[in-house]
């Protein structure tokens, strides 16, 4: 059981990295609390797996330290850390039975036979593997194999954290959901820190209490799923999380007024003067942009309306900009002329990609 702290951690796969571009992982300071369910979310190649491998000790970081509680484990090999890891592709030892697979980590650590047997039974019950315990591991389905990989981690009683590296990639869709629930149950039952790497926002948001969003080798935001949705700290988070992603519109901001092209939007917060060189953008999620009849707001041209099941969304153009808006029930648009109404509480201003927090105007939202 441990709290995992990353202290000024950075990693490059080059031997002597020169520019920041050569770092797969830029400087990261982060703390994973004991017992938390974390998701590490980001697109392929953003450094998620590197970070995971550093925590488990498979990769030694170029700079910075890794601490489990107060113990500096940066120089400790994988086998000396009480960490388990489940990989993208299920790893089972082909020649062994499921029981032998589960017992393998304990056997290697010279745990007495009766303790091992008892522990294997417990974990098998937890993962619903009891009835296949004596089968050969090589002949099972991918989701069973992935459970065995997980079981090999859980079987060690001292394990402080389990790291998952996109563990559901090769699992059939209808079993994904089931396996994810199993993970949640185990998390609740065992009070183990879990760090779950994925590029799938649904997986991340349903699994984790806290989501760490990574982009281009850096952590851009850590927060609960709600926080990520409502207050994205970076335009990347806004765009990456949510489906469809946040509308990001280049704009000019003066005090509490935003100018998008010729349109003027009265904001609910007062912003500092943003320098000329900064890239200023306004972000608002499609859920908070409502399409209405012509004349009821910002004038737009409707390109297409899609029915995505629980809602209808419209792809519209405002001047040169493309936006996505939600279409309220009961509204039908004649022709292509329409208007947008923005929920001004949900408008965020970004400078060079980062959220700018303004001062509340006249008491609202304070």
């Amino acid at each position: 059981m441990a709290r995992i702290a990353l202290d000024h951690l950075a990693h490059s796969y080059k031997i002597s990295p020169q520019s920041p571009d050569e770092f797969a992982l830029r400087e990261i300071n982060h703390r994973w609390d004991q017992g938390g369910a974390y998701a590490l979310l980001g697109p392929s190649g953003c450094g998620k797996t590197t970070l995971l491998n550093i925590i488990s000790g498979l990769v030694r970081p170029t700079r910075g330290r890794v601490r489990f509680d107060d113990l500096d484990v940066t120089d400790l090999p994988t086998e000396a850390r009480n960490i388990a890891q489940v990989f993208q592709f299920p790893v089972v030892y082909d020649t062994m039975t499921v029981r032998e697979n589960l017992a393998f980590p304990l056997k290697n650590r010279h745990v007495p036979r009766d303790r091992t047997a008892q522990r294997v039974e417990e974990i098998a019950r937890l993962l619903d593997l009891t009835r296949v315990l004596d089968r050969k591991a090589s002949n099972l389905t991918a989701d069973m194999k992935q459970k065995i990989s997980l079981g090999r981690g859980l079987v060690r009683p001292d394990v402080a954290a389990i790291l998952f590296d996109e563990p559901l990639t090769v699992i059939d869709p209808h079993l994904k959901w089931q396996l994810r629930s199993t993970l949640k149950e185990i998390h609740r039952a065992l009070d183990i820190t879990m760090i779950y790497v994925t590029h799938d926002q649904t997986e991340a948001l349903t699994f984790a209490d806290k989501v760490v969003v990574m982009h281009d080798g850096a952590v851009v935001q850590t927060g609960t799923p709600d926080e990520l949705f409502e207050r994205p700290a970076h335009t990347f988070v806004g765009h990456f999380i949510g489906s469809p992603g946040m509308n990001i519109l280049p704009c000019r901001v003066e005090g509490a007024t935003a100018f998008i092209g010729n349109e003027v939007i009265a904001l609910q917060r007062l912003y500092r003067t943003l320098a000329d060189g900064e890239r200023v953008e306004l972000g608002i999620r499609p859920e908070f942009v409502r399409l209405g009849p012509k004349g009821s707001g910002l004038p737009v041209r409707v390109r297409r309306i899609d029915d995505i099941g629980r809602a209808r969304i419209a792809r519209v153009e405002m001047g040169e900009r493309s936006l996505v808006a939600s279409v309220p029930d009961g509204i039908s648009i004649e022709g292509s002329e329409a208007a947008l109404a923005l929920d001004l509480r949900q408008v965020h201003i970004y400078a060079n990609g980062h959220l700018v927090s303004g001062e509340p105007l006249g008491g609202y939202g304070a």
Partner: protein
């Protein structure tokens, strides 16, 4: 929808049948033809039934005696070769680098012996092992060890075995290396997390994953060593005495030396059947071990 039956595909297969007929079936049939006849020259042949086969398989006859001697000799040779080359090949493959420029260097160096024509290999070792001018023979003799592969049967055997190991271990090693390279990194990483020792990794990951290539390696090395001809023929000519007269060498002596076509044909067929049978046994055993274990457990 009605299914249209179209047999035109047979025309594409026909050339293969024709080639196989001329390259394999017809020559084999001539051998079968010889094996049931006797000749006294002048292209006069007489029906002999299965007499050659009976003589061949009866160790008390002259023909049967030399056949079984050569057969045991060849089997012993193949067994020694497999026992040395397979473990050695695995060890070499495990020791080879996984990445970097040394990989290419290793691969080229290892492939070199495989590229040398077989009679050149024989010649190289014939000279190399000579006591008077050969580096190996001269050094060994000057170390005070009495070594003479043309006079001492044991020395001749050692020389041929060492030569074959030098020539063919690379093949086993390269096959195993390919098998090892195909193991995803995640297996090694998982093993490290599970705290597996180097030996446990070999036993539980590397060896099982090398199964298929090892099967191929064992089959190839068995067939090649069981049919070995050129190198020992060049090196020892089957001697001293008959000490290194393997089946293939004996067969050539019988067919071309004594021109006993009938006996030689019968011997060829039996030889061929033995190879097929042993390969079948190897293949069945190695592919079924897993399936059987599974069946027992189920």
């Amino acid at each position: 929808m009605t299914k249209v039956l179209n047999n035109k595909a047979w025309f594409f297969v026909l050339p293969v049948f024709a080639i196989v007929a001329f390259s394999a079936v017809l020559p084999l049939m001539t051998v079968v033809n010889y094996s049931v006849q006797d000749t006294f020259g002048n292209n006069q042949f007489f029906w002999n039934g299965i007499a050659w086969f009976q003589e061949l398989l009866d160790p008390s006859t002259e023909l049967g005696g030399r056949f079984f001697e050569a057969l045991w000799r060849t089997l012993l040779f193949s067994a020694i070769i497999l026992l040395i080359e397979v473990p050695l090949g695995i060890a070499v493959a495990l020791a080879m680098p996984r990445e970097g420029w040394t990989v290419a260097l290793c691969l080229v160096l290892m492939a070199l012996p495989l590229l040398i024509p077989w009679n050149v290999v024989g010649t190289i070792w014939q000279v190399f092992a000579r006591g008077d001018i050969g580096l190996l023979g001269w050094v060994v003799n000057h170390l005070g060890i009495d070594y003479n592969y043309t006079g001492d049967p044991l020395d001749a055997w050692i020389t041929i075995v060492v030569m074959d190991v030098w020539h063919w271990t690379s093949l086993v090693a390269l096959l195993c290396y390919a098998g090892l390279k195909s193991i995803p990194d995640a297996y090694y990483q998982a093993a490290r997390i599970d705290g597996a020792s180097r030996w446990a990794i070999f036993r539980t990951i590397q060896l099982p994953k090398m199964r298929r290539v090892l099967l191929i390696a064992v089959l190839l090395r068995f067939m090649d060593s069981f049919m070995i001809y050129t190198e020992p023929f060049v090196l020892t000519g089957g001697g001293p005495g008959n000490a290194t007269t393997f089946l293939s060498i004996d067969l050539v002596k019988l067919a071309l030396g004594q021109f006993d076509l009938g006996k030689a044909a019968a011997m060829s067929l039996v030889y061929n059947l033995i190879i097929l049978a042993i390969c079948w046994v190897f293949y069945t055993v190695m592919t079924n071990v897993d399936a059987e274990r599974e069946r027992v457990e189920a």
